[in-house]
Structures are given as structure tokens and as C-alpha cells.
Symmetry: C2
Subunit: 203 residues, 2 copies
Amino acid sequence: MLRVSRSDSAYHHGNLGPALEDAALDLMRTQGHTSLSLREVARRAGVSHNAPYHHFGDRTGLLKRVSERSMAELVSAMRAAQASAEDASPRERAVRVGGAYVGYAAEHPERFRVVYDPEVCVPGSPTPTMAPLITEIEGILAETTAALLPPGAEAALMPLTVAVWGSVHGLAELVVAGHITQDDVEPALVALLDPGSSARLAP
Amino acid sequence: MLRVSRSDSAYHHGNLGPALEDAALDLMRTQGHTSLSLREVARRAGVSHNAPYHHFGDRTGLLKRVSERSMAELVSAMRAAQASAEDASPRERAVRVGGAYVGYAAEHPERFRVVYDPEVCVPGSPTPTMAPLITEIEGILAETTAALLPPGAEAALMPLTVAVWGSVHGLAELVVAGHITQDDVEPALVALLDPGSSARLAP
DNA sequence: TCACCGATATGGACAGTGTCTAGATTCTGG
DNA sequence: CCAGAATCTAGACACTGTCCATATCGGTGA
């Protein structure tokens, strides 16, 4: 077992915090984070049922940490998509970035779900680690959205950014909940960003 | 206390099922459905901790029932908005229907959340009561979306309907999670449905 | 009318959980 | 080298979901 500590004693684990997080993430592959048991996590890590308390305070503390790591992964996926679509058209890039968002949710539904659980993360008072991640998501979406706007429409950036966030987030939730398939997502995003779709009537 | 039974005996409640649902809905005004306790619900209704089992089978059974009632309320709100915007423009109507969706979520966050909890409702095998409600939501959204399409673009109806569902659902979730305010929703929907917003580049 | 049966409600029991307190062990800085 | 901080363990408590056996009620057929 990997140890940060130099001692071979079994009493102190040496790297328990991350080990517990890993165990939790592993358990969340097969069960929802709502039914995740602190004691089972401790059992997985081979440690007493109370050891987690010295690292996370309480159950929500562990979930907060897990949601931070998940949010970081989500941001990475979006940044990667943004970079890989650097030379594509703004609309193509928006579809790719949105696809990355939904793709992460589809691949790790429970990690995605814990990130947006109001009982875990309250955006009004986010964790020091979580706050910049939220800012970065908003930034990526704003950049992606800005490229879609016609010149002179900069005033619409903020509301449209919110709309884009809502769209990809909603599609992700619908996929996770099982109401739509991941195959439905790209056509939906394309249709949404097609200016012809909703152009029937004048304002 | 309201009794369906004619007897005044306290042994049989007479109308326990709905009474338990009401108690659960009431508790969910102040606590999440994930931390909702079957025993507390029973206590609220003034019955033994085991009485709920004869009506719902298990905890998830009660949550399923609660989510059915909540989904019915959500559908009603959308139908009402659709009717009240009968004479408005398609875009105005879409904003109103979407606003009703988000409004319900903002007003009853926990009822909204339980409806889309994958551990409660699995769309693949929905409850007999839930199935038509899901169909009706999709129908309302399809009607609202169809009116937005230019003539000859009927092929885009399905993907755009999915996109609209995703958009309003995502905005609702973001409001519930606290990432945006309800005041952000209408501008976002307007921006999203404005054909000028995303018209910068040709396909 | 009345005995019976299914539906409804009760109580006790059990394993599992989150969290508190107290105590044991190891690490570390002066 | 040693005292205090950090880490981990053990025991206890209240609470939970669920199973089982039991009690009560309402209606139905003889």
C-alpha cells in the first residue's frame, strides 16, 4: 500500500484522506451518492468506522470533497473539448463543448449528480476549492457563447450564456435520469443553435 | 380528522395512504427527499412506524407516489401557462410555458427533484400513473416547439423539442441548485429563442 | 345473525447508519 | 528527547428501513 509516512506501522494509514475519496468514488460507480455509507467507505479503506471524521468532519464533508474532484474533472473535459475545437466554427465548438459536458455526466452520472446536489454544494457559500471551478465553467461557457453572437449583440452575452449553461445542463440531467439518450444530445444542440429553427415570427 | 370509514375506532385510520403522502409532501417543504424518514412521516400521520408498508411497500414506493403527484402538478402548471398564452406569439408562449416549468421547480424544489431522481423514477419502466404524465410533458413541449418552426422545417421538430426540454429543465435545475436566480430565467429563454443571437456564422 | 377472511394497523426485533466521547498510538517541532 | 498535535480505534447512542408475528376492523357468504 502506498504510504506517505515512513513508518510501517498499520496504525496510521499515512494517506487516508485521498484513499477514502477514492473508495467513495469507486463505490459511487455502482450506487448513488445518497445511499453512500461512510462506514462502508471506511471498511473499503481498511480503517475504523470513525477514521473519516478526522479528515472530513462529517459525511457531507466527504461528499463536498468528492464533488470538488468531480467538478475539476468536468472542467478539464470542457477545456479539452474547447481546445480540440479551436479551429472549428463557433457553432461547431459550442456543440463540442456542450457535448463534453453531457458526455461527462453520461459517463459518471453519480459524480455529476453530487456536484449539483443542493444539500452538498451551496453556490452561495462554496468551498474555497469549488468557487474557482464554478467561475471557470461560467468562463468557458461565456467564451463559447460570445463567439456565437453577431457583432453588436454583446448585451445578450450574459443571458445567452445562462441559456447555454441551462441547455447543456438540462440535456445532461435528462440523459442521467434516463429520459433521453446520449444520441439525442448532439442533434438537439445543433437544432438549438440553428438560427433558422426559431425564426418563424418577428419579435 | 377526516375519515372515510364510518367507525370512530382509532385503530383503522380510514384514509391513511393520502394522509401519509400529505405528510411526506409537507416534510419535503423543509427537508430534502433524500433525508426523508418513513418513520417521521408515520409519526406525523399519528400511526405506527410500520403502517406505511401496507400502502407503499417500501420507502421508494412512497417516494414514487409523491413524485407522481408532483409530476401531475407540474403538468397542470404547464397546461395552464399554455392555455393562458393561447393568443400570444409562439415565442411568447414558449417563454411562458418554459417559465411555468421553471416556476414550479423554484416553488417546490424538492417535489421537482424527486420527479427526476433516477433512484425513484426510472423512465424505462415508469409507474402506470407516471407514464402518461411523461408523455403529456413531451406533448406540451412538442406543441410549443412546433409553433416556433418555420414552414418546411418539420424534420427539426423532434431534436428541437428535446433541446427545449433540456433548456427549461436545465434552467430549473440551476435555479434549484442555487447557481442562478429565477430572474435570470426569462432573459435566458428570450435570448435563446431570439434567432438573431446565434446567427453570426453560416452553417 | 354470525363466523370467517382479507385488509389494515401494531409492536418487537435486527442490522445498518451518522455522530459523539474517550482513549490509544504515532508523528513532529522545539 | 519529549510534549503536544495529528491520527486512528473502540464503545455508545439514537435513528433508520425492513422483517415477523399479532391484533383489530370491515365486509361477505352461510
